[in-house]
């Protein structure tokens, strides 16, 4: 695998596609930075309607956060298994990551449904709108990640499996997945705990 390797044939010393992936993640930091800033702009102000603190369930969200954190572990183990050319373990860890991501998503859908039933809706006030846009976009990123993971697992099921030559594909998806995880680390603290 190419992590940390130098590429003398590239003028930058970094594989171009990989550099592109990191630049993409850098723009994603700005995207979520903007959404978090907007959310914080309205947090703590008084708006009509029910408050977020009246509806959320910290123990439930804590378990969801733990599940997403552990999906980063299974992702990095899949990456490690491919480095060791262990196809079977790579597929198992990929599937485990996709399943943990799907469980997190199911939890988020359940949470949103509960909030709606309790009256904290997208249009309740401007603060509720920023909450749903922020956490909803994160959920969309998790969904896209789960689709990528299942696609990669399906490719791995084919006769030739996942190879080190095409190993960069797994590395890109792993970077994306870990990024989704670090965004949630920030959101869990900023949205729920503070």
């Amino acid at each position: 695998m190419s992590s940390g390797h130098e590429y003398p044939h590239e003028s930058t010393g970094v594989e171009t596609r990989k550099l592109g992936m990191w630049v993409f993640l850098s723009t994603e930091v700005l995207f979520f930075g903007t959404l978090i800033t907007t959310f914080l702009l309205f947090k703590g102000r008084n708006f009509p309607g029910i408050k977020l603190t009246d509806v959320y369930d910290i123990p439930f969200t804590s378990i969801s956060s733990f599940i997403l954190l552990m999906s980063s572990l299974t992702m990095v183990l899949a990456h490690n298994a491919l480095e060791n050319e262990d196809q079977e373990k790579t597929r198992v860890w990929l599937l485990a990551t996709a399943m943990l991501g799907a469980i997190f998503l199911a939890g988020q859908i359940y949470e949103f449904t509960e909030f709606y039933h309790k009256g904290f809706e997208l249009s309740t006030n401007i603060f509720s709108s920023t909450f749903y846009v922020l956490t909803g976009f994160h959920g969309l990123h998790v969904f896209i990640g789960v689709v990528f993971l299942i696609a990669l697992w399906a490719i791995g099921q084919r006769q030739q499996g996942l190879s080190l030559d095409r190993g960069m594909n797994l590395e890109f998806i792993a970077l994306y997945w870990h990024f989704v995880d670090i965004v949630w680390i920030v959101l869990f603290t900023v949205v729920y705990l503070i």
């Binding site: 130098e6 990191w22 914080l40 552990m70 603290t189």
Partner: protein, 101 residues
């Protein structure tokens, strides 16, 4: 260009890192419930723990600490720009509150 090449962690090391992340998350939740005891330091401690988790995932799971310096600069650039944006908006909000209150 750096030619240093650090070895990636072993699966055992990854599991140990995940346990640390789990413990830090448990600490965050405990702090949330002990807000009355911890007082004004609660938010600062929560931010400190979140930054710790962020650095661990970026450094070890995303392998940024093993990467080329250029990759580090690109990612740090995005974070710095996001923090500048945050600072400007909060400063503007603070000034608006000051002048209109």
């Amino acid at each position: 260009m750096s030619t240093d090449h650090k070895e990636h962690p072993t699966p055992k090391k990854y599991v140990q890192i995940a346990i640390v992340l789990g413990v830090l998350t448990a600490l965050e939740v405990t702090l949330y419930y002990l807000e009355d005891l911890v007082g004004v330091f609660t938010d600062s401690l929560l931010i400190f723990l979140a930054v710790g988790k962020y650095v661990i995932v970026v450094g070890w799971f995303m392998h940024l600490r093993f990467e080329n310096k250029m990759v580090n600069r690109f990612f740090a650039g995005g974070m710095i720009l996001a923090l500048i944006l945050f600072a400007i908006v909060m400063l503007e909000r603070g000034m608006a509150n000051f002048f209109y209150s």
